[in-house]
């Protein structure tokens, strides 16, 4: 791709897909992690709360204030030393610390550290459990415990006791981490898969366009005359338009080549004759003749090349304002035919735009008006009217002698000249007809109301926006 050109359609579409897919999937991963962590915490806390309630149900106090359990908690880890599952029952001393009265065997004689902030929270909460995190007795394992504590008043006891159940957080944290890792892995695969799927989909969707590009290249390189193949409804109008563009261009190139060929052939013969003369003669003028013919030959070559290049490159999308062309001719013809005292009257619509090359418009209207000026007595009428959307007529009539049907047919023959006495190349009218045909217009002749010939051109004009 050239520097500075717009990015490819495929990469734009893939990037656009990635723009919503990647943040979306990252958001989903974060939300899933949060939900899973909360639910793990909740079930963890619930198991601790049920342990606290179990302890409260089974603890009994003697009259001397000694506590004992009517039955042990079913969880065997409370019996094994430093297992990660602990419980403790104690009383609050001075509102600052908890003096253990009874604890699980797993604590191995140690106690669960409780801060004074937790103690004041217990006082504040009353019957509701307090949850907090603290360091466990297994100092080697850097144990972090989740603790649920509840303050209750036991029968036979004057002071309330605090019942605490604790469990190591590490297994829960591990399972949450594992879940998030698995989720991230799976979602990354999903993101990559989505991007690849979008890429494949876009390539597939654009395949008719790539195909069209190859077909156009075939036309350009001469392997095909037009864009072939069946295309989806979205692209088929493009192919149709391209074909009409190609055929339009071909018509123009053919026309240019015909004209240039005619010009070249017309010039080549006299050049050959003059050159032969120049070689045969030895007097001074022969140098001039030779020089001039060389110049003619180089001009012909130059113009041939230019015309071919121009025919390839242009002629589509050109427009010409009709008013200046007609007004210029109306101004100029009386000066060219000064002896005739011409009166040219312009009528009809103004502001129309011819859909074609300004020079072609000049050639058509100019030749017809010039023809009228040659033959007219003194009067020429030029009438322009838009007759339907995109089409106008230009009617040029004079008060000269007019033409019979046979004379009109004769006049339109290529290169024909109606009256040798009237100056002109004789190509005027047939050029006008060729040009009108090339623009899918027409040229017709009839008798003018003024008495002479009336020429009517039908031409394409720009459609009003």
């Amino acid at each position: 791709m050239a520097k500075g050109s717009p990015p490819s359609l495929v990469s734009s579409l893939v990037r656009a897909a990635a723009l919503w897919a990647v943040p979306g999937l990252i958001g989903v991963t974060l939300a899933l992690g949060l939900v899973s962590r909360n639910s793990s915490y909740r079930s963890f806390d619930e198991s601790l709360e049920s342990a606290v309630l179990g302890l409260i149900a089974s603890v009994e106090s003697d009259e001397d204030g000694t506590l004992r359990l009517s039955r042990e908690l079913p969880e065997p880890r409370y019996q094994r030393a430093l297992s990660g599952r602990y419980w403790m029952i104690g009383t609050i001393e001075d509102g600052r610390e908890i003096i253990p009265l009874k604890s699980s065997r797993s604590l191995y004689g140690a106690s669960l550290p409780v801060t004074s902030a937790t103690i004041s929270a217990l006082d504040k909460q009353g019957q509701d459990p307090v949850r907090f995190t603290t360091l466990g007795p297994d100092l080697d394992a850097d144990e972090r415990l989740r603790v649920v504590a509840l303050q209750v008043v036991l029968p036979n006891m004057t002071n309330p006791v605090v019942v605490l159940a604790a469990a190591d957080r590490a297994p829960v944290m591990r399972s949450i981490r594992n879940f998030i890792l698995a989720a991230v892995t799976l979602l990354s695969i999903l993101i990559l898969g989505t991007i690849f799927a979008v890429y494949a989909q876009v390539r597939l969707g654009l395949r008719p366009l790539f195909d069209l590009g190859r077909r156009i290249a075939d036309v350009r390189e001469g392997r095909a005359a037009s864009v072939e193949g069946d295309y989806p409804p979205e692209i088929s109008p493009l192919a149709t338009e391209l074909n009409s563009l190609i055929s339009h261009n071909k018509t123009i190139v053919d026309r240019a080549q015909t004209h240039v060929g005619n010009l070249a052939h017309a010039l080549k013969t006299p050049i050959a004759v003059l050159r032969n003369e120049a070689e045969a003669a030895e007097t001074t003028p022969s140098e001039i003749v030779a020089k001039q013919t060389d110049m003619m030959a180089s001009q012909v070559d130059h113009h041939l090349r230019r015309a071919r290049a121009a025919a390839r490159g242009q002629a589509i999308g050109v427009r010409a304002n009709m008013d200046p062309v007609i007004d210029g001719l109306v101004r100029t013809l009386p000066r060219i035919y000064r002896d005739k005292d011409l009166t040219i009257e312009r009528k009809g619509d103004t502001g129309l735009i011819f859909r074609g090359h300004p020079r072609d418009l000049e050639d058509m209207i100019g030749n017809l008006m010039d023809n009228a000026a040659k033959w007219t007595g003194s009067r020429i009428d030029v009438f322009v009217r838009k007759v339907e959307e995109g089409v106008c007529i230009v009617r040029i009539s004079d008060n000269g002698p007019g033409l019979t049907a046979e004379e009109i047919a004769e006049a339109l023959k290529r290169g024909a000249r109606l009256d040798e006495a009237t100056p002109g190349s004789g190509l005027g009218l047939s050029i006008v007809e060729d040009l009108a045909d090339a623009y899918k217009g027409s040229l017709t002749f009839s008798r003018a109301p003024l008495g002479g010939l009336q020429a009517e051109l039908r031409l394409p004009i720009a459609v009003d926006p």
Partner: protein, 225 residues
């Protein structure tokens, strides 16, 4: 009659100079737009033949400048450009006629004569003054139907005076209109030419107006000045 030809093609301008000299004109040549504009601006030409595709300044601009400066001499555009828009631009710039190349010298001469005729108010190429007839087309003069032998300078003098018959023409004006730029100008030679012309067409036909110049008498018209 003195004309200016502004044409950058050396061979063509040389051919035109020789053809117009043969036809009895004083001819100046300019090879580019700048020189052409300068000559037209400073010399009193009777007509100009102007090419459009010129070096330095193009023909249309030269013509526009002349017209803007109030130069009224007739201008014939002689060019290879045959598009209608170019003809329109030429006439809009102030051209009096337009001829496209390739052309026949006879047609160019006929058109130039027509321009000169229009400029001097005549309708034909021949001007008659009683039994004296000046044929500008053939570059000849006749008295009583008999052709008289004239040199090119004598014919130019007669043709110019005939185009302005009945008007007093100063020596300077005659010098300016019958000699081309390269000629060694000496107004005394005008007296010599007038003297020789009088001998050939009749002494009484050219009147000397002391201190002002000469007048070719038209026996068919009342002179006013």
């Amino acid at each position: 009659m003195r004309i200016l030809i502004v044409e950058d093609d050396e061979d063509l301008s040389r051919q035109l100079r020789s053809a117009f000299k043969d036809a009895g004109y004083a001819v100046d040549i300019a090879m580019d737009g700048e020189e052409g504009h300068f000559l037209g601006d400073t010399e009193p030409y009777d007509a100009v033949i102007l090419d459009l595709g010129l070096p330095l300044i193009d023909g249309v601009s030269v013509l526009q400048k002349w017209r803007a400066d109030g130069k009224k001499f007739p201008v014939l555009i002689l060019t290879a450009r045959d598009q209608w828009s170019e003809k329109v631009a030429g006439f809009d710039a102030g051209a009096d006629d337009y001829l496209t190349k390739p052309f026949h010298v006879e047609e160019l001469m006929a058109r130039l004569r027509a321009l000169l005729r229009r400029a001097s108010g005549h309708t034909t190429d021949t001007i008659e003054l009683g039994d004296l007839m000046v044929d500008n087309r053939a570059a000849r003069a006749f008295v009583d139907g008999m052709a008289i032998k004239l040199t090119s300078h004598e014919f130019r003098l007669l043709s110019y005076m005939a185009a302005h018959k009945g008007r007093v023409i100063s020596r300077t004006e005659l010098v300016e209109h019958i000699y081309d730029q390269d000629f060694d100008r000496d107004s005394n030679t005008i007296e010599v030419f007038v003297g020789r012309l009088r001998k050939k067409i009749g002494t009484q036909r050219i009147e000397t107006v002391r201190g002002l110049g000469y007048r070719l008498l038209d026996p068919d018209a009342e002179t006013t000045d």
